[in-house]
């Protein structure tokens, strides 16, 4: 089976998510032990979420259907180099010829794809370092983001039953002042998780479950009432910074951005994504630093009403 990837491949702001969903759907029709060939040649831009969709489905096909994954190389050398820097090719076992003459992406702005089979706080610190290259945060805000990321990873580990736990990948964009990072697992999905406690959700599209998961304190685990805080914190954080987030889980896709004139978008899919993917895009501004409301702001930073 050949899957043609094109355009600005990813989910969320500025990306062409229809292409990603079409590719995901095609990949998921692969039969037992079939070879899945990913044709990257016409990809113009690769977002972290695009890579995570491919790795999550790729892993699912490898584990569940014993499929093999192969790929070619993007014609665009910048994309080719990013593909290599992101760690995707290593994960699926293909080497990409990297052109050392192309200063395509600043390596220090890339958080290489990592599989979190255990909660590795030093890796979380590395991701925060990449985020902080674009977004200045006070130590207290950095701590909040760290705790929420940890909470998100723990939620995945404890509730998703994912065979590979989760993959995280991120990138900062110094020219457009944006940060994107993405977490993907191969688990049961938000609907089945919340359905343990809220049975009515099981008969609805996954977007209903995603919306419910975004309410503070909502969890599918009986007895752990304050779980699920990671997702709501990030939702608030993204909305505060200006940005967007996308959640793809099972047969639903949810997209929300910081614009009061835009309603969140909900899409019912005609296939089941094998897991959950959460993608965040955060806007940053040079010379702006984030402080917590309760913090004392140093003199060199002005508060603008």
């Amino acid at each position: 089976m050949e899957v043609k990837l094109t355009g600005r491949f990813g989910l969320g702001f500025n990306a062409n998510f229809e292409i990603v969903l079409e590719c995901a759907k095609t990949m998921l029709t692969a039969k037992e032990e079939e070879e899945v060939f990913l044709d990257f040649s016409d990809v113009k831009f690769l977002y972290p979420s695009g890579i995570n969709v491919l790795v999550a489905i790729g892993r699912y096909l490898q584990y569940q259907r014993k499929c093999s994954i192969s790929q070619n190389f993007p014609k665009d050398k910048e994309v080719c180099n990013f593909l290599d820097e992101s760690g995707f090719s290593k994960e699926v076992g293909v080497s990409v010829p990297m052109d050392s003459n192309i200063p395509a992406h600043n390596v220090e702005y890339i958080y290489k794809m990592r599989q979190f089979t255990w909660l590795n706080n030093f890796e979380v610190e590395k991701l925060l370092d990449v985020i902080e290259k674009e977004l200045q945060m006070s130590p207290a805000v950095r701590r909040d983001v760290h705790e929420s990321l940890t909470e998100l990873i723990l939620n995945v580990k404890q509730h998703s039953n994912s065979p590979f736990d989760c993959y995280i990948i991120g990138q900062g964009y110094p020219t457009t002042h944006r940060i994107r990072f993405c977490i993907a697992d191969g688990g049961i999905g938000i609907k089945k998780h919340l359905g343990r406690k809220y049975e009515d959700l099981l008969n609805k599209n996954s977007t209903e479950a995603i919306e419910k998961a975004l309410i503070e304190g909502i969890t599918g685990t009986v007895g752990n009432e304050n779980s699920g805080l990671g997702l709501t914190y990030f939702k608030d954080f993204v909305i505060f910074c200006g940005g967007s987030f996308t959640i793809l889980s099972g047969d639903g896709l949810y997209y929300e951005e910081t614009d009061i004139f835009k309603q969140p978008k909900k899409y019912s899919l005609n296939f089941e994504f094998p897991g959950t993917l959460i993608d965040f895009t955060i806007n940053s501004k040079p010379n702006i630093k984030l402080f917590r409301k309760t913090e004392e702001v140093p003199k060199e930073y002005r508060l603008i009403k």
């Binding site: 909660l119 705790e147 723990l154 404890q158 304190g217 304050n226």
Partner: protein, 107 residues
């Protein structure tokens, strides 16, 4: 008096609910507190040297105490020392939620 230094038991990252291998979670702290709650008049808890504390850890270590002990007893015996204003907010929230859960379970 008994002193619990969280960083010496768990380390600088207090994230997990349960113990994972050698890494202690919130459960270890709760069990330690429960072991001394009836013996000691005063249990001091220090977060010195701790970098992050997740809500899950807090809930497992302190929130769940409210399921087994009355709030009055916890107030009288547990003392958080050092600069803990941020952490105390989380503990209060967690204990509040657990008290609500206990009341709901009893009704």
């Amino acid at each position: 008096m008994f002193i619990i230094k969280i960083s010496e038991i768990v380390g600088e990252y207090c994230s997990e609910r349960k113990n994972v291998g050698d890494k202690k979670g919130g459960q270890a702290i709760r069990e330690l507190i429960m072991g001394f709650l009836n013996k000691e008049e005063r249990i001091e808890i220090s977060f010195e040297g701790v970098k992050i504390v997740t809500p899950s850890f807090i809930d497992e270590a302190f929130g769940k105490l409210a399921l087994n002990y009355p709030l009055e007893k916890l107030r009288k015996k547990l003392f958080f020392i050092g600069d803990t204003s941020e952490i105390k907010d989380k503990i209060n929230k967690s204990v509040e939620l657990r008290i609500k859960q206990r009341e709901k379970d009893m009704s």
